[in-house]
């Protein structure tokens, strides 16, 4: 039987090859066939997830909620010291110095990344801004969000912090961070679906010692992950409860 693996589309394009190396490494470790399918947008991936196409998913926290509570997936590991944080940035020349300087009618550039968008909107609440009094436009990538800020076509942009930090120095020098979230307990995780549940002990054992294996270490580097940490069901439920409090 061949299993199916997918990865939340919010990783930096530089790490695409890393996920292919990971898949090859994991297949050898488990001695099972795994097919990797990558997506460039969240909506298409989510509809395939709902169609029960996948057995192994490196998911963002928002999707983890659906996978665990509705589809019986279990989180097995998370990347160590890597949490999902959101940045609200503006054009460096803009007059806005704090979030509270933004006002009704503000043009917001965002992506279809559900966690980043949710957290971005939460950080706008202190300025009394919400979806009803802002002009929100969704773009295909963080680079396009940045372009809209640089061109003056958006007043504020939402970024995954990791993605913001990976933008070129030239682009970042033309932007300014208004606020950066510091939540630390919201992060991606690797989840295993019911069809693959029998492999959970082997997956966890392989991944938790991955950094000790010479090939594994190289694969982790190519994915920009230091090492994996175990996740138990209570840690997963805690994160899902937290995400639930952020969704109205």
């Amino acid at each position: 039987m061949t299993y199916n693996l997918t990865v939340s589309p919010d990783f930096a394009p530089d790490h695409i090859s890393g996920w292919y190396f990971f898949n090859t490494w994991l297949q050898r470790k488990l001695d099972v066939g795994i097919h990797l399918e990558l997506y460039d947008n969240f909506d298409t991936q989510r509809s395939d997830i709902r169609a029960d196409k996948f057995d192994l998913i490196y998911a963002n926290p928002y999707d983890a909620s659906m996978l665990v509570r509705e589809m019986g997936f279990q989180a097995v590991v998370r990347p160590a010291s890597k949490s999902d944080e959101t940045v609200i940035a503006v054009n460096a020349e803009s007059p806005f110095q704090t979030v509270e300087d933004l006002s009704s009618g503000c043009r917001v550039a965002t992506t279809d990344d559900p966690d980043v968008h949710t957290m971005g909107m939460i950080m706008l609440e202190s300025a009394d801004l919400d979806k009803n009094n802002t002009a929100i436009k969704e773009y295909s990538s963080y680079v396009v969000v940045a372009k809209n800020l640089l061109n003056g076509d958006a007043d504020a942009g939402f970024f995954l912090k990791d993605a913001y930090d990976e933008l070129s120095e030239l682009i970042r020098s033309k932007m300014r961070v208004l606020v950066s979230s510091q939540i630390s307990v919201v992060h991606h995780s690797l989840l295993v679906g019911p069809r693959m549940a029998e492999h959970i002990p082997a997956i966890q054992a392989a991944l938790l010692t991955m950094q000790e294996d010479e090939k594994g270490k190289g694969v982790l580097e190519s994915m920009d992950i230091d090492n994996w940490e175990p996740m138990d069901s209570e840690q997963t439920e805690f994160m899902i409860d937290l995400i639930d409090t952020l969704i109205d």
């Binding site: 609440e125 202190s126 979230s181 209570e234 409090t245």
Partner: protein, 156 residues
């Protein structure tokens, strides 16, 4: 920080819903909510704190050891009407999410405003506790809440 803050210190007796009383100093000084942070805590079904994140420790002024095992009502500011908390408990005991604006009391007697959300934690169909997440409220919501709570306090 609120423009109306006087920095005045007063000693008040706070009576909690379970009849417990404590004397404490109240300082009329607002500590601004830190940008980008969420204050996170969990309690058992009776409201005793089982988890506090660093933002909670920093903003409340208590140490983690002081918070864990203490009832969440230790944060109740005397300017908060009892009816607001009754609404919270009535909502979460029905298994639903509660949102509200809350003026919290710090250990040093100063205060901070939050937009709070509390949800029940259900595991295998059983209530095991509550998670409370607080975020930065807008100035206009704080002003609306101050006015509302003053009216409610006057009626209590």
């Amino acid at each position: 920080m609120s423009e109306q803050d006087t920095g005045e210190v007063s000693t008040v007796e706070i009576t909690y819903f379970d009849g417990t009383k404590r004397m404490t100093d109240i300082v009329d000084r607002e500590v601004p909510y830190p940008d980008g942070k969420l204050i996170v805590s969990r309690t058992d079904p009776q409201g005793f704190i089982t988890h506090a994140n660093q933002a909670f420790i920093d903003m409340s002024g208590y140490s983690e050891d002081e918070l864990i095992g203490t009832n969440h009502y230790i944060l109740r500011h005397p300017d908060m009407p009892a009816v607001a908390f009754k609404g919270l408990w009535d909502t979460i005991e029905q298994g639903t999410k509660w949102h509200g604006y809350v003026k919290n009391l710090r250990k040093d007697g100063a205060y901070y405003w939050v937009k709070a959300t509390v949800i029940p934690n259900i595991r295998n169909g059983k209530l095991v506790g509550y998670t409370s997440v607080r975020r930065k409220p807008s100035r206009s919501k704080i002003e609306e809440s101050e006015a509302l709570y003053k009216t409610l306090m006057a009626e209590e």
